[in-house]
């Protein structure tokens, strides 16, 4: 049994820096003991989009960034026995695993042992009506919508099992993000699945790692108030976890960023609601007694996580067709710009009230108020005349199940080029298909996680 386990957090979302893993692997290669590299690349919508892609092409539906994330480090990981765990399987873990095999072959490496964790896809397990009954505070599934994707957040046990079976690389679809670290810890430390405080500590370690550099100075800098050195070369995090669940967060030497009480505490509470009851598939995590202590340069000790028995249900995200989002923008600059922009906005709204009555339209004025305002427009109504801004960009947005309805709005914005106030410039317009998502709580009996070694019979 390992005294200390090292886990590098190499990606916090699908669009993360793909060269972050290199310095992590270099640092892990110099250490001994069980070492893991985790990639979290599966946002809420990403999986539904992947599901649609797989329907069009059975060989797709996994994260296409996989090759760029794993390619640069797979040789060193195999050479130094650093195991890779990632949820880049998305809707097609098998195709993702096959692409890794091809990647290894192209680099002249031995074939890695790859395990697939599946069973998160619930589309065949429950009907729409059965999901609707299990929806958490919402009525998104009440209408007769076609389900695009339904995936449970699996826990850490199948990941630990895959590593127990000797996997070099574990490819998952939807799992709790923190399970990407807890699975390796359960495997390396032989933690029992009812050792709640240790499972809580492992979940907390995963939570600290799951957003990559958000714990090492990313998403933190506020010049003059919170300065971060080396933003262009941020070091991504390494968690050192001992068998009793004490965590030290650090980053590779020579990289940018910072690890201290503030960076760690911000991430510790990220996306947490009740700090005494953070629900994960394997444990309920209580962080109210956690302490964060600076013990050296870029070294922070996190201890005191407590756990309670795991919930009787798993969270699942169910996505349905959400119609179309239409957005259009136009700029006004120079003298009297804000007043001209206001006339443009009033003109568009007046015409839309005639052409598509009932269509809700949001108006933002980039340069005055565009993100902190409300959707009903009260904030902007008060802010129009406050500053005499000389460079503003109007933005309109609407959503509808009918594409032609949102196109009407975009046409009206484009028409401002000739029929609007003076000096309107730089119209951009686009339509994005949308997915609506609902969260459901699904009883464990409906979810059957599975572990398969690639190349072995299923």
């Amino acid at each position: 049994m390992a005294a200390r386990v090292y886990i590098g957090g190499a990606a916090g979302f699908a669009g993360d820096r793909t060269d972050a893993a290199g310095p992590l692997v270099e640092a892990l290669a110099r250490l001994s003991g069980p070492r893991f590299l985790m990639f979290e690349t599966l946002g809420e919508r990403t999986l539904a989009l992947a599901q649609l892609e797989r329907r069009r092409d059975p060989q797709r539906g996994y994260n296409p960034a996989l090759e760029r994330f794993v390619g640069p480090v797979i040789a060193d990981c195999l050479r130094h026995s650093i195991k890779i765990v990632g949820n880049f399987g998305a809707a097609n873990s098998r195709a993702a695993a096959e692409s890794i095999v091809a990647l290894a072959r192209a680099q002249g490496l031995r074939a890695p042992r790859i395990a697939l964790v599946e069973g998160d896809d619930l589309t065949g397990n429950l009907s729409r009506a059965e999901f609707a009954k299990r929806e958490i505070d919402g009525k998104i599934l009440a209408d007769n919508a076609q389900i695009v994707a339904a995936n449970a957040y699996l826990g850490a046990a199948p990941i630990a099992q895959a590593l127990d079976q000797g996997a070099d690389i574990v490819v998952t679809g939807r799992v709790a993000d923190s399970a990407l670290a807890l699975g390796p810890l359960m495997h390396a430390c032989k933690w029992r699945n009812d050792d709640w405080d240790r499972l809580a500590a492992g979940t907390l370690a995963g939570h600290l790692l799951e957003c990559g550099s958000q714990v090492t100075g990313g998403y933190f800098a506020d010049p003059g108030f919170k300065d971060v050195p080396g933003m262009a070369d941020l070091g991504y995090p390494i968690a050192e976890v001992d068998v009793d669940g004490e965590i030290v967060v650090t980053k590779p030497a020579g990289t940018g960023g910072r690890v201290d009480r503030l960076t760690v505490t911000e991430q510790l509470l990220y996306e947490i609601h009740d700090p005494a009851a953070y629900l994960a598939p394997d444990v309920v995590l209580d962080v109210t007694d956690v302490t964060v202590e600076e013990i050296g340069a870029d070294r922070v000790r996190v201890s005191g996580a407590r756990g309670r028995p795991a919930p009787e249900t798993l969270k699942a995200t169910v996505c349905i067709d959400g119609g179309f989002l239409g957005e259009a923008e136009i700029s006004y600059a120079g003298l009297n710009a804000a007043t001209r922009a206001r006339l443009a906005a009033e003109t568009v709204i007046a015409r839309m009230q005639r052409r598509a009555p009932g269509l809700r339209i949001r108006t933002d004025v980039i340069g005055i108020v565009s993100v902190h305002g409300d959707s009903a427009g009260e904030t902007i109504a008060r802010a129009w005349d406050t500053g005499g801004q000389k460079d503003v960009r109007l933005r309109f947005a609407a959503q509808s199940m009918r594409r032609n309805e949102v196109e009407l709005l975009l046409d009206e914005v484009e028409a401002l080029y000739c029929a609007g106030p003076a000096g309107g410039a730089g119209v951009r317009r686009h339509v994005t298909p949308r997915l609506a998502s609902a969260s459901c709580l699904v009883e464990l009996k409906f979810v059957k996680p599975s572990v398969t070694m690639l190349g072995e019979a299923t």
Partner: protein, 115 residues
């Protein structure tokens, strides 16, 4: 006694789940914890976010972390998959919270870079 925006004495990070927003507020110096605890109530935060019509605001206190977690319900226009706004996640709203002002009880070191 000087009045300052939270931005001078604390840091914040916003996160989302559906139509619910959380903002973690962390004191730059543990010495500020009591001042923030006394003045930055859930009601004051609800008032700051009034235009977004929160249906509920809860403050969770984390004295061992010198931090607070504010949870605001129904302020994200339905959440990232339904919002018409540019910031469907509400990520920029941490800096709206940091505009709330507090009156300092004692002298402090400006621009302290954490503990």
């Amino acid at each position: 006694m000087p009045t300052v925006p939270l931005h001078e004495i604390a840091t914040a990070r916003a996160g989302d789940k559906g139509n619910r927003l959380n903002i973690a507020l962390v004191c730059r110096d543990p010495a500020y914890y009591e001042t923030v605890a006394a003045q930055v109530t859930a009601d004051r935060v609800a008032e700051k976010f009034a235009a977004r019509r929160p249906s509920r605001v809860v403050r969770y206190d984390l004295p061992k972390l010198f931090a607070f977690n504010f949870v605001l319900d129904d302020v994200l226009e339905g959440g990232v998959n339904a919002s018409l706004g540019l910031d469907g996640h509400g990520k920029s709203l941490s800096f709206l919270l940091l505009e709330i002002t507090v009156t300092m009880q004692q002298s402090r070191t400006r621009g302290a870079q954490g503990a």
